[in-house]
């Protein structure tokens, strides 16, 4: 059984069937296992959660999120923090920082009393992203997503999309890694790393 005819998983010709019939049980299952091992896995598009912010919408990868917490959020203030840090909150027994995402990205905020808290993970550290509201989850359409080499430049390829530099603060526009259906796709891990660093720096400044 050195040479085995290649078979399609969905359609077998007579010759192939004959070959299969000649196999012993052991050989058959070995063959089956080999096929199963090499069976092509359909690539799953990454799911994103749409969030409505004070200026436009953004997409956050679900893989970066641990939990979506509904209101009310029992926020406590911490001294010497950036103005976009809404406070700290208890989540699963630990104290995590909560970032007002609208304020962080665009410098403007909305009423967050009924906002959703997205708990995201970064380097083993949990952080909360407070957004006014969330929409549906949607798979990322790679052909629709526009990679932005220069995030501060106008996104000409994206239909009807305003440039990130017009909606977001210049220092935050770099966290937009693409755009899909007028919503900015955020590089959440870089954003969280930056936020953690700024929160830490604020302690020494304040």
């Amino acid at each position: 059984m050195n040479e085995q005819p290649t078979v399609s998983a969905t359609y077998l010709e007579e010759k192939q069937l004959q070959h299969l019939e000649q196999l012993s049980d052991e050989e058959f299952w070995d063959y089956a296992r080999t096929l199963a091992y090499h069976a092509p896995v359909a690539a799953q598009p990454e799911e994103y959660l749409e969030c409505t912010l004070s200026k436009g919408s953004c997409l956050i990868p679900l893989s970066a999120l641990n939990e979506v917490v509904p209101p009310p959020h029992r926020l406590a203030l911490l001294p010497a923090t950036p103005e976009w840090m809404a406070g700290v909150v208890a989540w699963r027994g630990q104290v995590i920082a909560v970032i007002d995402l609208s304020m962080y990205l665009s410098g403007q905020t909305l009423d967050l009393s009924n906002g959703k808290l997205l708990v995201a993970g970064h380097a083993g550290l949990a952080l909360g992203l407070l957004v006014p509201s969330i929409g549906q989850t949607a798979p990322m359409q790679h052909d629709a997503q526009v990679a932005l080499e220069d995030p501060t430049a106008t996104v000409e390829d994206a239909e009807d999309a305003e440039p990130a530099s017009q909606l977001y603060l210049p220092s935050r526009a770099i966290f937009v890694k693409g755009v899909q259906k007028e919503a900015f796709v955020l590089d959440v891990l870089s954003l969280l790393a930056d936020a953690v660093q700024e929160i830490e720096i604020a302690a020494s400044n304040g």
């Binding site: 029992r74 406590a76 203030l77 911490l78 001294p79 010497a80 700290v88 909150v89 208890a90 027994g93 630990q94 104290v95 995590i96 920082a97 550290l125 953690v196 660093q197 929160i199 830490e200 302690a203 304040g206």
Partner: protein
């Protein structure tokens, strides 16, 4: 007592001497600073003296020289004495070597400032030799021999200065030739590197040895027995540390559940109350419905069979019956029909056989009544069950608290476990070799968390070793006979306050500086504090305050606007009402935390917390004291850690409470305020309104009398008001008594060194505006970085040219 110049007593002759001295001093500093640009003798030397300066009580150059020679002789005697105590062994005693190094360092600074380069170099050689011996580069025997010859060269050079007025470089040349013969190479860079490498190795060694004992197993001792006698008889069980920590963790979780449980219980109680209210409303509704039905039925035309006055349902019958019982009168329908005799109660009963006589409304009313009765029954049952649940919940909460306390007790150990080690460190010290030393303990049976105890061991030993290393200091100040008469005392006093342990490590004598700086970080890691105070015997006591157990904290729950924070009991001296308070400077906790202002309730009497701080006492106003609480501390992640925030706790409803360190918050606030004021002055340009037109004051802190005198003259001459301190403790006391505009601070000083003083200054908001200039002979980047880290504003090395010193002062004070 501050040594201030009497500025009206300076004669013309004094002025001439002063000028001569100034010139001599400049030359000395020029010589000591190789490669330094030639110093300009601007304003100070050339400008005419003011009346104020004319009155300064300056010393003559001869007097200054005499002071220098006397001080150098004392230092050389100390070196000689210490060398005699060193025995040529395989390993020279570290504490004696430390004394040599410190004394040589002080001498190097003094001789450098005097311009005696040869003596300064020889003193530096002693420092380097000690480093080489310590790191094993040269053998102890050879090293000791070299040290003896070096001290001899120092004596010879000083002799030449005294006899001829100039120091001879001959002894130094001979000494360096001798080093070559002994194959000793002294280069400062190499020695520095070697010293750093040794220090790094030492640190690694220390780190690897700190945590060993508790990792494998921990010995659990019944905490109820506290006496030394019972300690010897108690049974000890070995427990795996990981399992023990798991037990602690689960116990904490169990205890943490108490608050949510209480909250849930309160919620159920509230819901039950609402149920009872709804039930009452239903009853009321039932009455109304029944009344309506009665009214409706009464308006119906009587039936021919004569049953027109019969109630239409048992519900109505019951109402009528109740009415009859209440009023004693029978129900009479309000109809125009002729009055009928009243029915008996039995005739009003619902009878299934007579169902055709009742309307649908009657049936509905009956059902409503029965449903209400069912609700009433269920409600009563629920009340009984809730009462039972409350009892059990309370028992559970009490039990969880007991379990937590018991578990915490398991992890406690007596501080007496450290006493033998500390006593041994005292007895092995250089101090104990020279003086009779009594070591006393009190309250050593106090128990503390084993983990804390383990981490406390090294800092405590370090504290004692550092303080007792400089045993010969007192010898220089007092005679040998006096030393023998007065034995030195060292004590370890322990007592508990609530959930904290206070440890006093006291010394009756002058101690070596640097202890506080060395152990402060370790104490801070344990969430503790350490301060130095002068004790009743005139020495220095170090007061350590530590949590008794990790995890839990007790304090006041305080309202700050709509927020709540916890102020640990240990920070509070007393509580007053805002109407009573008048004495101490008042801060608001809301302002200290930097929270947005909220509208205060009108005419409310607020609480004022008087803090347990050193002088001056501090007071903080809060909106209300809500009560006392005991909570489990949750440490903050590194990026969330803030100065003045000890940690957080989560209450039963999931709210986060900040646990605050109020004195630290005040300190931070004062620093910020200073920055804001400076910024305001810079932007507004209104300098004169902020800087009062007065003589700026400088505190000179240096253990060398020569350096102090020299600086005193220079600064007074430049128009500053000068005071002095010759050790770290006095420096701190003078700073607090009369905060100066600037502090000139040496590093190497007895009692507290310069770093200790800088650290302690942080604890006193009143000193936040004092400009600090380090003036030291320590030149390495390591020292400069440490000083910057501790908040020094400038760093100058001795010998420092006058114009550099004065320009630095001018710039700092201008700020």
């Amino acid at each position: 007592m501050d040594d201030e110049f009497n500025k009206k007593e300076l004669s013309a002759e004094d002025l001439a001497i002063l000028q001569a001295f100034d010139e001599m001093n400049l030359e000395g500093w020029e010589e000591g600073k190789e490669g330094e640009e030639e110093r300009s003798e601007k304003d100070i030397a050339t400008r005419p003296l003011t009346d104020q300066e004319m009155g300064a009580n300056f010393l003559t150059p001869e007097e200054m020289l005499a002071i220098f020679v006397g001080e150098a002789s004392e230092d050389i005697a100390t070196l000689r004495q210490t060398l005699q105590q060193l025995e040529p062994d395989d390993h020279l005693d570290g504490t004696h070597l430390q004394v040599l190094q410190r004394t040589a360092h002080k001498l190097k600074g003094t001789t450098g400032a005097m311009g005696c380069t040869a003596m300064s170099t020889i003193a530096h050689h002693i420092e380097e030799l000690v480093k080489l011996i310590t790191n094993g580069t040269i053998a102890p025997f050879i090293g000791l021999n070299a040290l003896v010859q070096t001290v001899h060269a120092l004596e010879m050079t000083l002799d030449s200065l005294v006899t001829s007025g100039e120091e001879s470089s001959g002894p130094l040349s001979e000494l360096e030739a001798e080093y070559k013969a002994l194959n000793i190479e002294i280069t400062s860079g190499q020695a520095e590197k070697q010293a750093l490498a040794t220090a790094a190795e030492g640190e690694q060694e220390t780190e690897s040895t700190i945590h060993v004992p508790l990792r494998a197993t921990v010995e659990i001792e019944p905490a109820s027995k506290t006496t030394q006698e019972s300690l010897t008889t108690m049974q000890v069980m070995r427990v795996d540390v990981d399992r023990f920590e798991q037990l602690i963790q689960h116990t904490e979780q169990l205890a943490e559940l108490s608050s949510p449980l209480e909250s849930a219980q309160a919620e159920v109680g509230k819901a039950l109350q609402e149920l009872q209210t709804a039930q009452a409303r239903l009853r009321h509704l039932e009455v109304l419905v029944s009344a309506q039905l009665v009214a409706k039925n009464s308006s119906v035309t009587p039936e021919p069979n004569g049953n027109e006055d019969r109630p239409t349902s048992s519900l109505i019958a019951r109402i009528l019956d109740e009415s009859r019982q209440r009023t004693g009168q029978h129900y009479q329908r309000k109809s125009k029909a002729p009055v009928q005799p009243a029915k008996t109660a039995d005739s009003l009963q619902w009878d299934d056989l007579e169902i055709d006589r009742f309307t649908e409304n009657d049936v509905l009313a009956l059902s409503l009544g029965e449903a209400i009765a069912d609700v009433a029954t269920a409600s009563a049952q629920l009340r009984a069950a809730f009462a039972q649940l409350s009892r059990i919940t309370q028992q559970h909460i009490d039990l969880a608290a007991n379990v937590r306390d018991d578990t915490l007790l398991l992890s406690l150990a007596q501080i007496s476990a450290l006493v033998p080690r500390i006593e041994r460190a005292v007895m092995m010290s250089a101090l104990a070799q020279q003086h009779q030393v009594f070591f006393e303990t009190e309250g050593e049976t106090t128990e503390i968390d084993q983990d804390i105890l383990e981490q406390l061991k090294q800092p405590l030993l370090q504290l004692v070793r550092t303080c007792t290393a400089y045993g010969s200091h007192k010898a220089a100040e007092t005679g040998v006979e006096e030393q023998e008469k007065a034995a030195d005392r060292i004590w370890l006093h322990v007592h508990t306050v609530d959930n904290e342990v206070n440890i006093e490590v006291g010394f009756s004598m002058t101690v070596a500086g640097g202890a506080l700086d060395e152990v402060q970080e370790a104490i801070r890691r344990l969430h503790g504090t350490i301060v130095a105070r002068r004790n009743k015997l005139g020495g220095v006591s170090f007061h350590l305050r530590l949590p008794r157990s990790q995890g839990a904290i007790q304090g006041f729950l305080v309202a700050v606007g709509s927020r709540r924070v916890v102020v640990p009991f240990s920070q509070v001296r007393r509580i007053e009402h805002s109407t009573e308070h008048a004495a101490e400077p008042l801060y608001t906790l809301n302002g200290l935390l930097g929270f947005p202002l909220e509208q205060a309730p009108p005419e409310s009497v607020r609480a004022v917390i008087i803090l347990q701080t050193e002088r001056p006492p501090l007071a903080v106003e809060v909106d209300a004291i809500l009560g006392e609480t005991r909570l489990v501390v949750k440490p903050l992640a590194p990026h969330l850690q803030r100065r003045g925030i000890v940690g957080t706790a989560i209450d039963g409803t999931g709210n986060i409470l900040l646990i605050v360190n109020v004195p630290e918050l005040i300190n931070r606030y004062e620093l910020l305020e200073t920055t804001v004021k400076v910024a305001a002055i810079r932007s507004g340009g209104n300098h004169s309104s902020y800087t009062a037109q007065r003589q700026p004051s400088i505190l000179v802190a240096d253990d060398s009398v020569y350096i102090r005198q020299s600086l005193h003259q220079t600064l007074s001459y430049a128009g500053y008001k000068v005071s002095e301190a010759d050790d770290g403790m006095k420096t701190l006391e003078r700073l607090l008594d009369h905060p100066p505009d600037a502090l000139l601070l040496d590093i190497e000083m007895p009692n507290l060194n310069g770093y200790d003083v800088l650290s302690m200054m942080h604890a006193h908001p009143v000193l936040a505006n004092v400009k600090t200039i380090m003036l030291t002979s320590r030149m390495s980047e390591k020292h400069k970085a440490r000083a910057r880290e501790l908040g020094a504003d400038a760093y100058l090395t001795k010998p420092c040219p006058q114009d550099v010193l004065l320009e630095t002062l001018r710039l700092l004070l201008k700020k």
